[in-house]
Amino acid sequence: MLINTQNWKQWLEEAGDMSRFTGRFFSQWFRPRYEITEFFRQCFIVGYRSLPLVGLTGFIMGLVLTMQLRPSLIDYGVESQLPAMVGIAIVREVGPVITALIFAGKIGSSIGAELGSMKVTEQIDAMEVSGTNPFKYLVVTRVLATTLMLPVLVMLGDAISLYGSYLGVNIRGVTSFDLFWTQVFDNLSFGDVVPAFVKSFFFGFAVGIVGCFKGYHSHKGTEGVGRSANSAVVLSSILIFIIDLVAVQVTDILGLN
């Protein structure tokens, strides 16, 4: 038999567990006690500390994308449209998806490993014994932080990417700073910016909830911690592409394309 029924059963069970875990998040996030201090601490960790990596990759991405597109645009005689084209590509698609994937690699794995290690060393049980709801303290704060911080990182990443693109445009040609930004903003519309911004919240939520789920259900000692971190990145990366696919369809249906 080509389809391994045991694997399917395991996969469906995990999907069910994850749905319950997500449901638990929605049932608990707005109820007191509110972990405000821990939430801000997590925002600092997942947001501020990810900025250098997101900025660096964004800058390189903008630069490379511009240099790769130039020959094709020259062939069609529309080299002057380079800033506009790169701007739309970065804001609509490349910026949010690449930033989310970098975020999944850095933050998703870190959450998976941290909670996994806390689980196997009984730190989560110790929190519960110390009068703390560990789900709220560890999961709700992290998921809210990733959901709110990723859109901010995407915006900053897009901006840094466009600076990279400006450099790319000027490596082989001469375009003034004002002309570059005018071309970028003149060709960007509401339908380019808003859907990309909105889907970033979903990307952030996916990274947070998958990282927490994998870490929170870690077992089999240190080997399990490594597996949690790894599967958190793999699953959240897949989810980012699936969400992106759905977002494109929804944007199309709403006529925002």
Partner: protein, 259 residues
């Protein structure tokens, strides 16, 4: 108990010496077809040190996690200060947990926090209204009890196994528990450090008059720390007596532990 006078805000659960503080009756716990605890019974008196002895995988840790409320038993009663743990809601359970210290087998110190933050955590999370000065004093006293005041600003990763166990014990002590539950307190320690930890446990029990329920298969720990030994075999309380009484037993199942 001069060092803990500032904790007067904790719920009052006065007990007289010798009075029963914990009673476990007809406890059952299974995981699928694996019946871990079957009709387990146990009593613990104020000021008494009871060791639950059993081989690995016999359900000792499951028992202690049922007592602290981390696992829910299938049936049976676990009465702590007259309150049945499985019936308690979150708030009531938190109140009981403030008087029920738990030393985890793996210490469970929070890696991302300093020793000071680790010790402050239970005080802050249980919503005890005390000033920062009082918190500092309690941290100081708890560390003093375990002889590690100088480690207050260090991270758990910078400490040795024995030191981490002492810090975990200090964190357990900070709420001045009436009952301390020890889950395999000497696991992973060398024989000398293990003896030091056992000595510390006995010293603390004598100093504060608390009761202890110790889960262990370390015979040195059983010999040094127990007033009474309960043997957990096949999910039941197989034998109950002092260390010397059980050592003299002719029962092969009991003799195996003392050989």
């Amino acid at each position: 108990m001069e060092s803990f006078q500032t904790l007067a805000v904790l719920p009052d659960m006065p007990v007289k010496a010798g009075e029963e503080v914990m009673r476990i009756t007809g406890l059952y716990k299974s995981f699928g077809d694996n019946h871990v605890l079957t009709d387990f019974n146990l009593g613990l008196a104020a000021g008494e040190n009871v060791v639950v002895l059993g081989k690995s995988g016999s359900g000792k840790s499951v028992l202690i996690k049922c007592i602290i409320g981390l696992l829910k038993p299938d049936s049976g009663r676990i009465e702590v200060f007259g309150k049945n743990i499985p019936d308690l809601g979150h708030l009531e359970l938190d109140q009981v947990r403030m008087k029920l210290g738990f030393l985890f087998q793996s210490n469970a110190l929070y890696d991302s926090m300093t020793v000071r933050e680790n010790l402050e955590f239970p005080l802050r999370r249980h919503s005890i209204r005390i000033s920062q000065r009082e918190v500092d004093e309690l941290v100081q006293h708890a560390l003093d009890d375990v002889g590690l005041v100088h480690t207050v600003d260090r991270m758990p990763a910078e400490l040795s196994g024995g030191m981490r166990k002492r810090i975990a014990l200090a964190r357990t002590l900070i709420l001045q528990p009436s009952i301390i539950l020890y889950d395999e307190p000497t696991t992973g320690l060398d024989p000398i450090t293990a003896k030091e930890i056992i000595g510390l446990m006995v010293e603390i029990q004598e100093k504060y008059g608390s009761s202890s329920l110790i889960i262990s298969h370390d015979m040195t720990c059983v010999r040094m720390a127990s007033d009474r030994v309960v043997m957990l075999i096949d999910g039941k309380c197989y034998a109950d007596g002092t260390y010397d009484e059980l050592k003299r037993s002719a029962d092969p199942a009991i003799k195996k532990f003392f050989e």
